[in-house]
């Protein structure tokens, strides 16, 4: 069995915790999150008939007051950068984070997730921006932790990217 560490990253309240909760359907270490700044969940997936254990590190939100502790990011095999479609600033945060990650850890698989797809009418980010990002080689998903749209796909795709 292969294990992979994945970090959930993104601005405050974009839906990182909601996505993980939706995906693993467990509440194992909710209580640790606030004190330690990280919540860890795990999920077993199959990639090419091979078991892969995903260890999902859900970090406390990134904003100007609360910097992500980089030590948590070390040893990650991939990242999920979550953006709240209804807030344009969250995309800036995500792209900035991505840039910093690449500087610190080199090229690692990551996915850009535009969350809250169920609120598409309220989106500030226009489809053109997303298509542009996609066109420049980024893996991009529109998801909703509320409806479950694309949630499985996000994690499975990252798992495949990491294993190959």
């Amino acid at each position: 069995m292969i294990q992979k560490k994945i970090c959930m990253l993104g601005a405050f309240a974009v839906g990182k915790t909601s996505l993980v909760a939706r995906y693993v359907k467990s509440m194992f270490s909710e209580k640790y999150l606030t004190t330690v700044g990280v919540k860890i969940e795990k999920k077993l997936v199959k990639v090419d008939n091979q078991d892969v254990m995903l260890m999902l590190w859900d970090l406390a939100g990134e904003d100007e007051f609360n910097k992500v502790q980089t030590s948590y990011l070390r040893g990650s095999s991939g990242f999920i950068l979550v953006i709240d479609g209804t807030r344009h600033t969250t995309l800036d945060v995500a792209l900035n984070l991505q840039k910093n990650l690449q500087e610190s850890f080199g090229k690692l698989p990551f996915i850009l997730v535009f969350n809250k797809a169920d609120l598409v009418n309220e989106w500030e980010i226009d489809p053109g921006t997303i298509e542009m990002l996609q066109a420049s080689g980024n893996i991009v998903f529109r998801s909703s932790a509320k409806t479950g749209q694309n949630v499985e796909e996000v994690f499975l795709t990252l798992a495949e990217m990491m294993v190959k």
Binding site: I2, K4, I40, Q69, S76
Partner: protein, 583 residues
Amino acid sequence: MSAKRDLETKESKQIEQDVNSQDEFTQLRSLLLGSEQAQIAKISDRLDNHKTRAEEISHVLADAINQSSKRDQQLTESLLPTVEEAIRISVKKDARILVDALFPVIGPAIRKAISQALSGMLQSLNQTLDQSFSWKGLLWRIEAFRTGKSFAEVVLLKTLLYRVEQLFLIHRESGLLLQHVVADLVVAQDADMVSAMFTAIQDFVKDSFGVKEGETLQTLQIGELNVWVEQGPKATLAAVIRGDAPADLRNFFQDAIEMIHFHYQDALEGFSGDASVFEPSRKTLEDCLQAQYEKQTQGKFSPAFWIFVSSISFLILGWSFFYLRDTYRWKSYLDKLRTTNGIVITETGKIDGKYYVSGLRDPLAPDPDQILKLSKLNSEAVVSHWEAYNSLHPEFIIARTKQILAVPSGVDLRFENGTLHLTGRARHSWIKEARKLFRAIPVHLQESKLIDIDLEKLNSLKSNIEQESIFFSTGQSKPLLSESEKIEKLLANIKVLAKEATLNDINIELEVLGHSSSIGTDLLNSRLSQERAETVVAIFVRRGLEPKLFSVHAMAAKESDEQNLVEHNINQRVSFRVVLADI
């Protein structure tokens, strides 16, 4: 071949021809190859000139070393002796330079080593002190005293009461679990989650408290559980320990993590999530579990064992108490027997778990069973055998004499110098009977001081009677009238005497002696004295006394024991003599 030869000859011919045109040729050459010539000159100058070459190499040296180091170790190896020598010379020349350079490194390294050693020592010391004044500590002190070990040694042995329950081998960077071993009977949580959370906590501590790189959380304590962390460069070993483990257990874990780094250097370096390569490390980790188990079982006894030990001690204590108590009682019983007169112990011991005593006992001695009862010994546990004998102890001679003779209350017995003295007063009948039994007494008897009450009385009466005389007128055989009172008194005394004598089985004879004066013929006087005695006897008989009591004796004047009466011619009288027979 021939063509080549032609060409050579042609050339040589031409050189000969050209000797004259040397200058022209030089001119031409400089025109054609001038710049190349200058370059060649410059190159040869670069090669020949030391200074220039050094300057040039200085530009590429760093890059060259860099490349060589990347390629292989050759450069490092070839440089090694030179560098070593350089350091040696440097130290020799001026050690301060190197000391100053190393100071920032050596200081913390030494401090770290010392503080680690001290903290281990303090932990042991604390455990020792902690246990010094507790109840457990007291038991350990007893054990130390009993086994001859030092107290600290015993404490150390006892503090190995811990169990290494789980070991996590964790990839340091990712927090992914590389290996996990669990002791028997321990219920383990989701190991990979624990591993990740543990790493997160480590990171949290590191980030939150601004710990320096390379320094990490070493111990976590949650109630009875301790998590000991051994950090390697690539992997972390976290040991979950229940109870108090001695500090030197850390060495054990350090060895393990070092060994793992040594064996799995490449796997750790290139770890990408596949932990299966670390499977063989399970053995190393399990050894950590097992080694501690052995120590634990050495030091710890189960509660059942303690219950067993304390019951046994209790039994032994109880048994000792009863044993000692009974032994004491047995000894006192024997002592009591030994000091009791009339009892002689010939043999003591134990037979079939029972006390045994045999000996001689005077039937008059106190009953040993009674003494046994007073000793509070269980009479069931004592077997006795007594042979009867007669003790010659004065006490028993006296007792036995009293028994045989039925000594009455007025009589005292005293044993002195081998003779038993009888003193006091006794009835005549008893004395008479006792004398017959004297032979049965095994010692010499002395009874001369024993007073015969009855005989004393008889003798008193006898002397009273014998003192008296009944007087007559001259020539008369009838007592004087004035004598009648005396006669009454005599009569009474004789009656008592007769009665007492009969009671005591003594025969009495009352000799009635008739006397006369010496005037007149002997025949007459003899007849007169006869008549006088007979007259008195007749009076007595008439007054109720038995005739056979009396015997009449005519004493006349001659045989009078009162010669002065005869001389004064007042011997006309009757006197009495009492004879006690069969005393």
